[in-house]
Symmetry: C2
Subunit: 454 residues, 2 copies
């Protein structure tokens, strides 16, 4: 058989519908609760922040949801993305495993984030919204939404965690190049920001505070909505374009994965890959399919957090989500995989984990960088620090195959390149990085703040 | 007709041969001269620095040169690259012109440079070489060669101009991630470097000095060769893979370019695109094809430099090349398009320019960044500052079509993304950049140092 390195789809093969797992769940998702009443929230509760079309998607149980032609037209700028066979990595490992990776790093912002940013910008524009606020940590999400804002002529205001704003200027400048406005959070632009600055003018900020600022800004401006880059059902829905393309590409390769691996922060990238596959596990077609969520030991949400109702933000402004959580007060160590530093996990992933349909594993920072360097020196691609977590687990599973002699098919979800994260590699190569994990007491402490449900 | 945004080739369509323009030149290239004797150099003169296969390619007049399977196998990691139709840019400009761009930014280092780095590493390895030295300015070339070195297990030593080494760390860290060794030049590792450091311990370095160090290192180590990332005939040869792919893709699009546009520093990226097309102009099939080389006003080699014999480096160590030159003593202003700051131009491009087969144009820095931002906000891609020069000219030609109502086909050669160049965009957006051009006296002054041919 001809040796193939990549499996390409034509632009006409871009899926026309997203896949909604809510149609096929063995049990429905627990409802999202209003923090004041403890009752399920209504669409009207969310209308000041989100366009109605996204609110509908959040709760829809339709299996397939049409991708608007205007969204597909922008997807064409980088989609379909390539599925690679990692021949060089396999050879270096000496494994009989077949490793495939789906690479999202060729999008203009360099990651999977625009898959949902473009869709969210479209639905907002259609509802007459000309301004969207959001928060960003390291800047992947803020830059993706700024990119989408440029293409739909929407003003994007990004509240960026102050310490990242100052330490990691490249993503901020990307936002500005696309026309986005980016301010360090805490900022003087909101009550929440001003209150914090009054207390501590040098406050380094936090994702929770940045969310508070972005939500307040949206709630207090008529033509403005708020946008979130992960966690929510509609965000995972948009990301299923990754898995839908990959299923076709695995067919081209004449195989089906035994194990699917991806990194999880809020979980949208990896869910986008595995949801179209897990359907086959739920309906019994592929009962042995393994799905491994990889998180950092510095933020072990699925591996050590309980499945409970919690706020989405540190400040406690959002509705309550049933999810694996370390407590909204949990502040993860400042590891370089900024996109994985979130106290909660997407409700859909948490639910599937609770049902025993997906696994989870936590990896240490140093080992993930080592894996990332091995990947760069074999497959050529310098990966984002987040992705390195998935690469580490992939290498481990491939080495297990070497021991057992099994020729399993492993599918790696590659979320993006690391060209804007070179400072992290520098710190690793200079021996300046550390591993981070937590004693049980520290996690128990953060979990004390879990809200009581009425 | 179906609206298409991109034209994809399968990996089996990666060309199997490079195209050698020397087979089809209306007049042969002037010889390269030995600076001591003034006589044409011989292969033996070059053997201490280059593998014999590359020396042969440098002077070959065979039309097609086989691409080794080992090189094609690595090309598969990112090639064939995509040809895009710039529908969104066209619409924003309101032009009847059809704009296409061939995008090299999806290679692992983010530019066209690995097309030749991989080939050069392969031929060196085949000749038993385990170590290669080179110089780099902003770091595009050094990172591409480090990438290639990782894949062929060759140690890469990069002398990086000191001021860039300190000011632009991201490319250096990319080199190190791929296993390359990078030192600031002047360095204590060579006589040339030590002599300069003794004179001035804080010397910011120059590309000429870095070349001197890399050449000295290679010449004084038995198992070590030297490698150059542009200018030479074999480098342009390897880059013709860009134009060969594009020709097939333009056929898929059902059209042929009226104008081909690209930026030129040493010239390898743009020549790689246009050489397979200029063949059709030379043989009379496409007599009206226009080819526009775009350079910065800060380094106006083709537009203002004479066609004369000169050294390739500032220090005067290399053989003499007949080329357009501003004089090897010319130091261009520190514009952000570091890849275009070279005093000379590839002998092949200079020869074709002298024969009237290609045009040249110089663009001011500020206007190129403006064009780059327009491109980012329409097509989505943040481009390298070098590429922005070609985008500026492309927009101008498209606007001319708007005036005349002509629906010309314009082909833009897009050399790579700008994710590692965000500091340049920041300076532009903050209003800190200036335009640079030179009074006639300053250029005349630099040209006084042109070597006298015996």
């Amino acid at each position: 058989m001809e040796k193939r390195t990549k499996f390409l789809l034509d632009e006409k093969d871009i899926p026309t519908k997203w896949y909604n797992i809510q149609a096929d769940l063995p049990q429905p998702l627990p409802p999202v609760l209003h923090p004041g009443t403890g009752k399920p929230i209504t669409p009207d509760d969310l209308a000041p922040l989100f366009p109605m079309e996204l609110i509908k998607q959040e709760v829809s149980t339709e299996r397939w949801i049409e991708i608007p032609e205007e969204v597909r037209d922008i997807y064409r700028l980088w989609r379909p993305t390539t599925l690679f066979r990692a021949h060089r990595l396999e050879k270096a490992l000496g494994t009989p495993a077949k490793i495939f990776y789906k690479y999202e790093g060729t999008s203009p912002p360099g990651s999977h984030k625009p898959n949902t940013a473009v869709a969210q910008a479209y639905y907002n524009k259609k509802e007459g919204i000309n301004r969207i606020t959001t928060e960003t940590g390291a800047g992947q999400w803020g830059s993706a939404l700024s990119f989408a804002g440029a293409l739909f002529d929407i003003e994007i205001k990004v509240y960026m965690v102050a310490i990242s704003y100052h330490q990691k200027p490249y993503r901020r400048i990307m936002m500005e190049t696309w026309g986005g406005k980016c301010v360090p959070s805490p900022s003087p632009d909101t009550n929440a920001g001003r209150a914090m600055l009054a207390k501590d003018p040098n406050c380094p900020g936090s994702l929770g505070l940045a969310i508070s600022e972005a939500v307040e800004d949206a709630a207090t401006h008529d033509d403005t909505h708020y946008s979130l880059g992960s966690v929510l059902n509609h965000v995972l829905l948009h990301q299923t374009i990754i898995g839908l393309e990959t299923k076709k590409q695995m067919e081209m390769a004449g195989t089906y994965p035994d194990i699917i691996i991806g990194c999880v922060g809020g979980g949208s990238n990896f869910a986008g890959m595995f949801l179209p596959f897990i359907k086959d596990k739920i309906d019994g077609t592929k009962p042995d399919l393994r799905i491994i969520n990889v998180e950092p030991t510095s933020c072990p949400t699925l591996t050590r957090g309980p499945y409970a109702y919690d706020f989405g933000d540190e400040a406690g402004l959002t509705p309550l989500l049933k999810m694996n959580t370390l407590g909204h007060a949990f502040i993860p160590a400042p590891v370089h995989a900024g996109g994985l530093r979130y106290h909660g996990m997407a409700p859909i992933i948490s639910h599937l984990h609770n049902l025993g349909l997906v696994e989870a594993r936590a990896e240490h920072q140093l080992a993930t960088f080592k894996a990332g360097i091995d990947f760069a020196r074999t497959e050529g691609i310098i990966s984002a620090p987040e992705t390195n977590h998935a690469i580490k687990t992939t290498i481990d599973e491939a080495l297990k195959c070497k021991e057992t002699g099994e020729s399993k098919t492993i599918l790696l979800t590659h979320s993006g390149h690391g060209h804007v994260d070179m400072a992290a590699y520098e710190a690793y190569l200079a021996g300046k990085l550390k591993d981070h994990s937590y004693p049980k007491e520290k996690i128990d402490e953060a979990l004390k703040d879990l809200p009581k449900i009425k």
